[in-house]
Symmetry: C2
Subunit: 359 residues, 2 copies
């Protein structure tokens, strides 16, 4: 959920139709040697994130991915290898290429296994950024399944009571289908805020609230810091011991276990910046009980939550996914707003690479 | 993690050996008609919680369970029914009896299915309190598996931005084995604190910190409130919008979906006080990669977290489960401390029911 002071305005952004952005992302990736199918998968996921207003994980990131490919940090073309497999499980290597490609395949395999056996699970090593983690549960939701995905990262978060970063922002995403209502879609960093929110605040030149980040001495930071390092950390969800920082921290370790240790790809402090191990799961609802009954109970639950009286000063109670579904409807109609600096950067990058210009 | 001001002291508590408490719990349950095997399962789980210092979910709860059985709120003897089943999934009915019995069976089935197929999952309707949720993942950990369990409850937590309770404290527990180190064991309410902490504060006559609970008007409560109702709520983990309240809230809804909607037993606001639906999962690590490799990487991760410099004023960084494993070692040696009022209550209840006295 974006905070108001981090929002784009008409003055600082340009609207671009989603299909054009998709084409631009794919063209840039292909211009640095990404095979067409991998470029299309990545473009699809990045464009969906931008449509859903998860701008920190949207199309503009293609510029840095293209640089990582060019520099050899990403191995492209990549080979996604199935290292081990059972009825319900798979261990994949992303081949040090685009994280999107292997995470997408991991969720496809999870869904196929769930269709046969009820549950499917994949864990992915040798990976990089997978973008908006919520995309992958949505793949399961489209198949009328429950979906879950997580990803770990190099250190940004301190452990509760700790004075140095040891864990990534380690997001957890979970989705489930409803009938008349939009699907439930939770997509949350296990820090108080996603790292992207700090970057966005820095770009927009606004201070951050106390509780988002601390110095190595545990003092609150309100100027969004420049670069990762041991001199500052993001706080785990909960912030303080009394308010449950050990819970955000514990969830982040759970993410490291499923994505990093189960895959063998490594936990937070073993990873370099830009390395991300991932995990996906799909659950076939109809193996438990009739799908229609599940979906209509989801509707009832979502309606009951929406009907909760709001606290004074707030308009209404939301359900996870509401802002994203609303944004998707609006941006599909009016185009995706890009910060003008991001728009310029994408065009410049495409021109540099002699890629066709679509925006 | 218990906060210091909520701890038992030598002045307000009595030490009792764990085996005697186990016998006492089982005897009380059998005195109200619980079959011996169900009483033993329940006693085992309650005693483990007390050994691990999860006192809010420990042996003293047997008094209220025995009353729920006597009043007919719990159906005892109960029949745990397998409503549907596949290679990897099971839907159970707890038969409105002791929640422990069906949750235990659900995790046993999850483990058996995981051994065969890689992953096993059970969801349980028509249930009641299952005690310390972390017990169930530990069953999987003892089999060298990853385990997870969750349970929902009648409303205590408000949604983010909401002014009335709509969700239970909906805990999530997750465990994974290590080699030389203790297993990782996360067991967390998705509220800032477990409901039991408020009850404990009330019993000890101490105020609660701002952020744990609010009035219907969103004003902080510092006197631990008496009874559940629409006039106050616990806060979701994160507390405020800016600090991520939508995350604690979103996790609580995820719990309602897996335990309440997937089972059909009902989500938070459909439940009466004392009703709890549950969900368990086991994952066979060796289906992904060699167990020994997994366990030694767990050791490395835990050691790296322990070695994180502590923030000023704190002694050391902990890993989820540390306080519980330490307590278990100490209490196995010195006995389990019971608040004297709880000790008296258990003895009085046993005498009322003509159950043998073991404590």
């Amino acid at each position: 959920m974006a905070l108001d002071f981090l929002k784009f305005t008409d003055e600082n952004s340009i609207r671009v139709p989603a299909p054009d952005l998709h084409k631009q992302v794919s063209a840039i990736l292909q211009a640095v040697g990404t095979p067409a199918d991998h470029a299309e998968t990545t473009a699809k996921i990045l464009t969906k994130a931008s449509l859903m207003a998860v701008d920190s994980h949207g199309v503009s990131n293609v510029v840095r991915y293209s640089r990582s490919i060019e520099s050899g940090e990403y191995t492209v073309p990549q080979t996604v290898e199935v290292i081990s497999e059972s009825d319900t499980t798979a261990l994949l290597s992303c081949g040090n290429g685009l994280g999107f490609v292997a995470a997408h395949q991991g969720m496809e395999m999870s869904i196929a296994k769930a269709k046969k056996h009820g549950v499917g699970m994949a864990t992915i090593r040798d990976g990089h950024h997978i973008g908006m983690v919520g995309y992958y549960p949505l793949m399961a939701v489209q198949e009328d399944m429950i979906g879950m995905a997580i990803t770990n990262a190099s250190p940004a978060m301190r452990p509760a009571l700790g004075a140095a970063p040891r864990l990534g922002t380690n997001p957890i995403a979970f989705g489930a289908p409803a009938d008349q209502e939009n699907p439930f879609l939770l997509d949350m960093a296990t820090t108080t805020v996603a790292a992207g929110k700090l970057g966005l605040a820095r770009r927009l030149g606004v201070p951050i609230p106390v509780g988002w980040a601390v110095t190595a001495e545990g003092q609150p930071l309100t100027d969004p810091p420049e670069n990762r390092g041991n001199h500052w950390s993001q706080n785990p969800l909960g912030n303080t011991r009394e308010q449950g920082a050990h819970k955000g921290y514990g969830l982040a370790v759970m993410v490291d276990i499923l994505a990093g240790v189960l895959s063998g790809g490594g936990f937070g402090s073993q990873l370099n910046a830009g390395e991300n191990m991932s995990w996906t799961m799909a659950v076939d609802i109809s193996k438990f009980r009739p799908l229609d009954d599940f979906k209509s109970m989801m509707d009832e639950m979502i309606q009951s939550l929406h009907a909760t009286p709001a606290e004074p000063g707030e308009e209404k109670v939301l359900v996870a996914g509401d802002p994203e579904w609303e944004a998707e409807a609006e941006r599909s109609e009016n185009g995706i707003p890009l910060h003008s600096s991001q728009y310029d950067e994408m065009r410049t990058r495409a021109q540099q690479l002699d890629a066709e210009l679509f925006i």
